[in-house]
Symmetry: C2
Subunit: 243 residues, 2 copies
């Protein structure tokens, strides 16, 4: 038996695994994912109730199945548990958690602004957004923990402010990446430094799941507006050159 506090991790995809790797030193991680085949060095495989019943529960499921997951775990949560999501958007998940989880649990929204690619060399200096959802003190404590224990650079923001910035930062990056990846094979020989930087950015999201793209482009209430402006400016550039 471990003396470390139990932490339930629901969703063991690429980001769930990364979470377990970095939290295993601090918690006894109990993970649930239908696709998980066994324990690994970082997490013990449990059933949904085994993960949802922990004092801290991290939701690392695609944003698209979050509501369904919340409905399922609502009756399984312990009194006073701290529930944290890690989705790429924050307005919709915050609203859903507030609406669907029992009053006795505390809720914090987070968005780690990194993934397995950018975290390859460790977490120090990487960014995370932390949003108060239910309990200002819990948001503050989660932020402090991320800063002190994981070395992350923390931004305390509202879900709205988060999504407004992410609509540009992630919305445009993933859109540009999608188009450039569709143009492959791209030159790798007579490249310029600027082209290489752009392609390094593309490479960092190359292996992101389609669910991440969907969440960023569709589940962010500000993404369509940013995209609209981006496309209009592209049309303008196109008109100037080929019009």
């Amino acid at each position: 038996m471990s003396a470390k506090p139990r932490l339930g991790l629901i969703g063991y995809g690429a980001f769930g695994k990364l979470t377990a790797q970095h939290l295993a030193a601090h918690f006894d991680v109990r993970a649930f994912d239908p696709a998980m085949t066994g324990d690994d060095g970082f997490a013990t495989r449990v059933d949904l109730a085994g993960a949802a019943g922990c004092p801290v529960v991290i939701l690392a499921v695609p944003v698209g199945v979050l509501e369904h997951t919340l409905v399922e775990i609502a009756p399984m949560l312990s009194a006073g548990a701290l529930v944290i999501d890690v989705g790429s958007v924050k307005v919709k998940p915050a609203e859903a958690m507030q609406r669907l989880l029992p009053d006795h649990v505390r809720i914090v929204g987070t968005h780690p602004l990194f993934g397995p690619q950018s975290a390859r060399d460790g977490l120090t200096g990487l960014r995370i957004a932390v949003c108060e959802v239910r309990g200002a003190r819990d948001a503050r404590r989660t932020a402090a923990w991320c800063r002190l224990r994981l070395g992350l650079k923390v931004f305390n923001v509202t879900p709205e402010d988060h999504d407004r910035e992410a609509a540009t930062v992630q919305g445009l990056t993933h859109l540009i990446a999608k188009v450039l990846l569709n143009m492959e094979p791209l030159p790798t020989r007579m490249t310029t430094a600027s082209f290489e930087r752009v392609m390094q950015g593309v490479d960092m999201v190359r292996h992101d799941s389609p669910a991440v793209y969907q969440a960023i482009e569709r589940d962010n209430p500000f993404a369509a507006r940013v995209r609209e402006r981006f496309f209009a400016l592209f049309d303008q550039a196109r008109g100037e050159l080929d019009g």
Copy 2:
């Protein structure tokens, strides 16, 4: 009097200055530019004939005024002089130099795949494309000189092969940069590593002159076709998201 061989530099804009800074150790650089107000530590200001009469002449003028410059300097060139251009495209300049310069001069086309931003920390390891235009031996010697004396990574290519790759490498980078720069101010706080890489690429071409953009997008015979494909894929992504 300097014992170094004379080199005439026609055009003393951002790239002309960079050229002088790196060639001053090897040549007595004589520069001509109507906008040049005096000597600097790297080049002596001369009139057009003073630059065009040197044994080596580098053309660092915008691609858009190259033909006009060639007509002007044609009667001023010394017998056997080596004329080298540094334009961002190669098919049109190679054809124009071949057509407009006297038979007694040797001609090499080059495209240094860097600018003042990417060359901030020196030239070593940066790339240059070298194209044979008139005289295979001169192209080979220019390539060897760039490799040995400047530490550049050299690609010997035909003007056509150069422009075909550059249509993607530079055509797309500058187009994406133009649109993103039009969207400023962009977020600088809650950024992801991938967004930051893309923006580093944008920053490297941020100060390029409109003439560089025009040359890359308009004077490259393959650029329009690459752009067409890029826009079609954007329209497809747009349709899938907002359709």
